[in-house]
Amino acid sequence: MISERLKDRFVDILLVGAMALLILFFYVPIVTLVVFSFTDSRVLTFPIEGFSLEWYGELFRKPDFLPAVANSAIVAAISMVFATVLGSAGAVAWIRYRFRLQNAFRAISFLPLLFPQLLLGVVMLLWFSVLGNWLGFSTGLATVIIGHVVYITPFALVIVAVQVYGFDETLEDAARDAGASGWEVFREITFPLLWPGILSAATFAFLLSWGNFYVSYSLAGTARTLPIFVYSGIAVGSSPIYPALATLNFIPALVLVFLADFLRRRALKRQKLATA
């Protein structure tokens, strides 16, 4: 009996340990970058010799990364809006409606998720180049945004679809019975109920676009986003400014992830109160 309980305990520890190790694995490169950003040496060897903020200073003395940051922000903001709107509308059509050609719609709105990003980028690059030849434009930020929307919308769609799936449609019926118009039902019932999912989708969309390398790399032409800037930098050789840049880059993501989670929980709590 005791040995049985001991065995169970052992399995518990093993399983929880597996999860803990996986989280450790996820954070190894991230924590390493943060640690190295405070080094006082020019060579990046571990353990770092001393603590300094030298490389943050260096970064701002030569702020050639700022245009790339601006580009990334523009691309991420616009891609987020389009991906979230298209994905949310698509999710409702995926789950709640039945219509002709639905399976075709499902296939084309989901397949980009199954595409390696590099291939997605290359395929679109070919198309934009042919199109550009005919119409006289070249690839740049606009094509990056289109590429991001194609890549990111399926993610947004899946996230909102989960919310739509758990949706209680009797609330809509009640509103309609009480005399609300179609638009009022949408504004007062449907949209608020889907809001937590839409919020998560928007956060995901912004950060996926902000950190995207593959699609941007194929479609940016001569424009540079932050990941492309870092890639061309580390391709030449590692410099101690990149860990500092990386650490600064983590901050908006951190803020956004926690903010979105806070808002999502608050919305969920309100819903529970409203339905209780």
């Binding site: 590429g147 580390i234 990386a246």
Partner: protein, 289 residues
């Protein structure tokens, strides 16, 4: 979940479906068709010339060099799938059965790591795997191996990077299918005298198969396009298909060739998707009987 049948004359349906459908048709489906069309053209003096012939395809099929790299890509993808599933399953199982109380926190931790810039994370791995990096310092201080391990610029380095980037997918798909398993089924197995191990292998594992397959297939198709890892962590010593495609576009400026190689990779991915869908369907049919 109730569903509404809608006709295409309904403006609500058009408003929800049409924008996304048009974007995907214009910038995903047509580009795919265009890629296929381009692979039947040729280049002259680095310029595309619209001549329909099979020159590029005969080149692709007659050069064993391309197929060695394709085979290496598939082999790496398969190894990556096995490692990812082996890592993801126990963790997903723990998340679904042992760590319920901390689910939200753990998910945020994982999502934050997943959404961080891939180039920066890859650069982080350089600092870890480098000869004078974190990994070797740790090994030396744990008294394991006095000699420095050379992980950077090897296929092992590439594999660590690939697993790192993709293990999230099976983690979530497996977790989702484990979380959906009716606890009563497992309890029923215990009641009828099954040991914990037997209940796991005869109830839990078969029921988690959809998530397992979906995760494995996702890892497989996505790892076919790994590019940063073999280049930055593998040091370009053992190039994968993505590098071949990049070269045919950038170095050789041979677009039809790049298009053809891209198609080969897409076909490999599509075949594996179809195969796994067939296996999954047969499995669920057998379970229904």
């Amino acid at each position: 979940m109730r569903t509404d049948s809608k006709s295409w004359r309904d403006p609500v349906l058009v408003a929800t479906v049409a924008p996304l459908a048009i974007v995907m048709l214009l910038f995903f489906v047509i580009p795919l068709v265009m890629t296929a069309v381009l692979s039947f053209q040729t280049t002259q003096f680095y310029r595309l010339s619209w001549t329909w012939d099979l020159k590029i395809w005969t080149e692709v099929f007659s050069k064993p060099h391309y197929w060695t790299i394709m085979a290496r890509t598939v082999a790496m993808a398969l190894v990556c799938v096995v490692i990812c599933v082996l890592i993801a399953f126990p963790a997903a199982y723990a998340l679904a059965t042992r760590l319920r109380a901390y689910n939200a926190q753990i998910q945020i931790l994982i999502i934050f790591a997943f959404l961080t810039d891939a180039v920066l994370k890859t650069f982080g791995w350089i600092l870890v795997l480098d000869k004078s990096g974190v990994a070797n310092w740790l090994l030396a201080h744990l008294g394991l191996g006095p000699e420095a391990l050379n992980l950077l610029f090897t296929p092992t380095g590439t594999m660590i990077g690939m697993v790192y980037g993709l293990v999230v997918y099976p983690l979530f798909t497996i977790y989702l299918s484990l979380a959906r398993i009716d606890r009563d089924l497992v309890l029923a197995a215990y009641d009828s005298g099954a040991s914990r191990l037997r209940a796991f292998f005869e109830v839990t594992l078969p029921l988690s198969r959809p998530g397992l397959y979906c995760g494995a297939v996702l890892v497989f198709v996505l790892s076919l396009g790994a590019f940063l890892e073999p280049k930055v962590l593998g040091g370009g010593t053992a190039p994968l298909a993505s590098e071949l495609i990049r070269q045919s576009f950038e170095t050789r400026v041979n677009w039809p060739l790049g298009a053809a190689l891209t198609l080969v990779l897409i076909v490999i991915g599509a075949l594996s998707l179809a195969l796994s869908a067939a296996v999954l369907l047969r499995g669920s049919r057998r379970a229904a009987r």
